[in-house]
């Protein structure tokens, strides 16, 4: 075969391939649309029963019986809506949906799927069990925190939070050690969902050798309002070797807002502390809202570090008349030009909040 023949053959093959691709695109579209219409019709038939099931009626036997008896094809069409509802409803509606899922054997199948070979299958199973808040799944979900696939680990961590099992708090915190097997924010959210029951594990975690675990514990203790942990957080703010842990401890103390927090945060604004901690402490003093913080915050306005001075100025906008008076004094130049700029910015924020800045007249 000559080169010219080879090129001609190539051209013919290319044209054939393009034509086939065109046919695949058109056929794919036709099939997809037909299937979508069919699924929509089947889902529409079952949807009234789903609404009845989750509508809050005490007697849900009839819609439950109807939905449990749906054949495989019809259930497949309505399952996405049912699963989506499971994550959005609570109380009786959630209990009714869980019953439906159990009657259809979904919980049983999902428990089996947790150990399947395919990562997508394991993750999907963990997702459904989490939405069902299936307490029996907790040991298996805890084991999945060490899964080889990061997506499976993440879904398992989220599911444990949704189940709300206190025994999962320790394993969740351990996930963050040595580089973190699960994202920080996700573990934090799960621990927040577990709530006060996670407090003992979080308290112990403040002494964990891994700084990421300590940082998470410091953050979550503030978010769940653990006032009993103030002393431990104050200690973390003062002596922890990790700047991240100290920063998060400062933020949490601002959220908790006890008198001990005020003293510790005031101290943390001092020059002996790293800049990130000082800036966070300056902001946290505003969260507490105690007028006693005004002198310390006023002294921070000329600070060389923008974030420290800026956070101090914004905190002063939340501390009442004494703070406003301090801002006016500094805006007049009492502490220099730099501090005056921050003070004027803060006064503008106050004026905006109180509607004292006039809206501009409309253009003629």
């Amino acid at each position: 075969m000559s080169t010219a023949d080879l090129v001609r053959l190539t051209l013919a093959l290319l044209l054939y391939a393009v034509s086939m691709l065109g046919a695949v695109i058109v056929t794919g579209r036709v099939v997809r649309r037909r299937r979508a219409r069919h699924d929509a019709r089947l889902a529409a038939e079952a949807r009234p029963y789903l609404m009845e099931l989750t509508g809050g009626d005490a007697d849900v036997r009839e819609p439950l019986r109807r939905l449990a008896a749906l054949d495989r094809r019809r259930w497949k069409a309505v399952q996405p809506s049912a699963t989506s509802l499971l994550g959005k409803v609570s109380g009786h509606a959630h209990a009714a949906l869980v019953r439906l899922f159990e009657e259809r054997g979904i919980a049983r199948d999902a428990l089996c799927d947790l150990t399947r070979r395919g990562a997508v299958r394991r993750a999907a199973a963990a997702h459904v069990l989490g939405l069902m808040r299936h307490a029996e799944a907790v040991p298996a979900l805890v084991r999945l925190l060490a899964d080889r696939n990061p997506e499976v680990r993440a879904v398992a961590a989220r599911a444990l939070g949704q189940v709300g099992a206190p025994e999962a708090a320790g394993p969740l915190l351990e996930c963050l050690a040595e580089g973190g097997r699960v994202p920080f924010d996700l573990v934090a959210q799960s621990l927040i969902r577990i709530g006060p029951a996670a407090r003992p594990a979080l308290g112990r975690a403040l002494a964990h050798p891994d700084p990421a675990v300590r940082a998470l514990a410091a953050e979550v203790l503030g978010l769940i309002g653990s006032v009993g942990s103030v002393a431990a957080l104050v200690r973390a703010l003062s002596v922890d070797p990790s700047v991240d842990v100290r920063t998060r401890a400062a933020r949490s103390l601002g959220r908790l807002g006890t008198p001990a927090c005020l003293a510790a945060l005031t101290d943390a604004t001092g020059l002996a502390h790293p800049q990130a901690v000082r800036a966070e402490a300056a902001g946290a003093l505003g969260d507490i809202g105690a007028a006693g913080a005004v002198p310390a915050l006023r002294a921070l306005l000329p600070d060389y570090h923008y974030r420290v001075a800026h956070n101090a100025a914004l905190s002063l906008t939340r501390l009442g008349p004494a703070a406003e008076a301090a801002l006016r004094e500094v805006a007049g130049g009492a502490l220099g030009v730099r501090a005056a700029g921050h003070a004027r910015e803060a006064l503008a924020v106050l004026a905006l909040a109180e509607g004292r800045l006039a809206r501009p007249a409309p253009a003629p």
């Binding site: 996700l186 959210q189 700029g341 910015e345």
Partner: protein, 502 residues
């Protein structure tokens, strides 16, 4: 001794020397023509590989969609807040709609910073009227050095709308973005164009990789699609339609192949080098560490990403830069040849300048896949493509003219080469249809197929010429000019609404 000198000395027969010379030229022309064909086979094959990777990525994404937990991102109190930075220069026509659309994005905590880069039209006045802006003093943080002087800062008088408008002296897009980064209060900064229309869930999608892998992800890029012809209501693309102009239709195919699927493929390979300036999300602390955007670069978005790669690899830090293929940011594509030519010259020049500035990374194993694969690919297959293409346009007809290349053979080779390009475009269309199916009308599908065919006739050749002009502009180091970018704006019917952008 040269052939001419030999002939002059009478040592050999002059006609024989000239024949030998002509034979040599013919051989050279034939060899060059062959090389051009091989080059374009390689270019198209590389596209096929990238599209295959993108298709695999899409399957991966859709199989996991059910349990990705987007609602959880929304509910998480530790979710990182975002500052959306929108530089604007003479955007009077669409600025209000753009800001309104941005303010209604679905994300738990974000602020908008509009940087009016010395507009000479009513950009600021339109914003002032719409949002009742009042001037307030803001202390400018000096995290990144900037050039243009900040004239004033403004916020809405009524309520805590998270909008800040910064007025500054004109100093270019990159510097305007640097000013915006300085003013940004949140840990993530999203850079968008003032004429970008974001899908409502865009911020959630581009922020998801930061939530999934917070320690390593430093930047994410969103896909850009063309909004011309689409129906836009209140700053949202509500109906996706193919544009009426064939020039823009061809760009739709080009964006699909190169920007959506090509970049998704590169992201899979860990070699994403370009995040469009029209939609990218970055960790603010890292951008500040590297000194922000380079105001002297005409391709500042790609330069920023390349510098990020360089910085992280130089320090041996583990990091990821990710491309998110859905949802999207919509932008208006040039609808006239003159504007398109300016855009393509700018892109080509930007790539040439980037390659020169970071030439130390080229083929350097220290920079891993970026130095060994991505950067060489961009130089060989993107930057040099216009040069090879224009050479082919000159050499092949010349070869035919001097008898070095057989006309019929050249014709069949050319058709085969166009056929291969068409095949690549159809594969891209097939992936679009199965993974995203944005164009729902049959007529749009037909128009896309025809545009894929038409791309090879004229469009590619003009593109190559503009690319060559851009490369020469970079070599001559002429003054960088962004050029006037005529915008038609968006309207409810997808028709023109007027307005201009620099």
């Amino acid at each position: 001794m040269s052939a001419a000198a030999l002939a002059a000395s009478g040592a050999v027969d002059a006609p024989a020397v000239l024949d030998a010379l002509a034979g040599g030229v013919r051989w050279l022309l034939a060899a060059c023509s062959g090389a051009v064909v091989v080059y374009f086979v390689c270019v198209n094959t590389s596209y096929l590989v990238l599209i295959a990777l993108a298709a695999w990525d899409s399957v991966h994404y859709h199989r996991r969609l059910a349990f990705t937990g987007y609602d959880d991102i929304y509910a998480n109190p530790l979710n990182p807040a975002i500052t959306v930075i929108m530089p604007a220069y003479n955007e009077e026509a669409g600025i209000v709609e753009a800001v309104r659309a941005m303010l209604s994005l679905r994300y738990p905590a974000f602020e908008i910073v509009v940087v009016d880069d010395g507009s000479r039209d009513g950009t600021f006045e339109r914003l002032r009227e719409e949002y009742g802006l009042v001037e307030v003093e803001r202390v400018l943080p000096d995290d990144i050095p900037t050039r243009g002087r900040v004239l004033s800062t403004h916020v809405p008088a009524a309520g805590p709308t998270s909008l800040l408008v910064v007025r500054k002296a004109n100093s270019g897009r990159a510097d305007a973005l640097n000013v915006g980064i300085n003013f940004a209060r949140h840990p993530l900064v999203c850079m968008v164009d003032a004429d970008s229309l974001l899908d409502p869930g865009s911020l959630l999608s581009v922020a998801k990789p930061f939530a999934d892998d917070p320690l390593r992800v430093v930047a994410t890029g969103g896909v850009i699609r063309i909004a011309n012809g689409c129906e836009v209501v209140a700053g949202r693309v509500t109906k996706v339609r193919m544009p009426r102009s064939w020039l823009v239709r061809i760009q739709v195919i080009e964006y699909l192949r190169a920007f959506l699927l090509g970049r998704t493929g590169w992201s899979r390979l860990g070699g994403l080098l370009i995040i469009s300036g029209a939609f990218g999300l970055f960790r603010r602390d890292v951008v500040v560490e590297i000194g922000g955007l380079d105001p002297d670069s005409i391709g500042e978005d790609a330069e920023l990403v390349t510098r990020l790669h360089r910085y992280m690899r130089d320090r041996g830090r583990d990091y990821r830069i990710v491309f998110v293929s859905e949802p999207v940011s919509w932008t208006e594509a040039p609808s006239s040849l003159a504007v398109l030519a300016r855009q393509r010259r700018r892109w080509s020049r930007g790539l040439a300048e980037l390659a020169w500035k970071h030439r130390g990374m080229f083929g350097n194993p220290r920079y891993g896949r970026i130095g060994m694969i991505a950067l060489p690919y961009y130089v060989i297959f993107e930057l040099c493509a216009p040069l090879v293409s224009v050479s082919g346009l000159v050499l092949v007809p010349l070869g035919v003219l001097v008898g070095a290349v057989d006309l019929a053979f050249a014709g069949v080779v050319m058709l085969a080469s166009y056929g291969y390009s068409l095949l690549v475009a159809f594969v891209a269309l097939a992936v679009e249809e199965y993974a995203f199916h944005r164009y729902t009308r049959w007529r749009d599908l037909g128009a896309a197929a025809l545009a894929a065919l038409a791309e090879n006739v004229g469009y590619r050749q003009f593109n190559a010429w503009w690319g060559v002009q851009g490369i020469f502009a970079a070599l001559r180091r002429t003054k960088q000019v962004w050029g006037v970018m005529t915008r038609e704006g968006f309207s409810a019917q997808g028709g023109p609404a007027g307005g201009k952008k620099r």
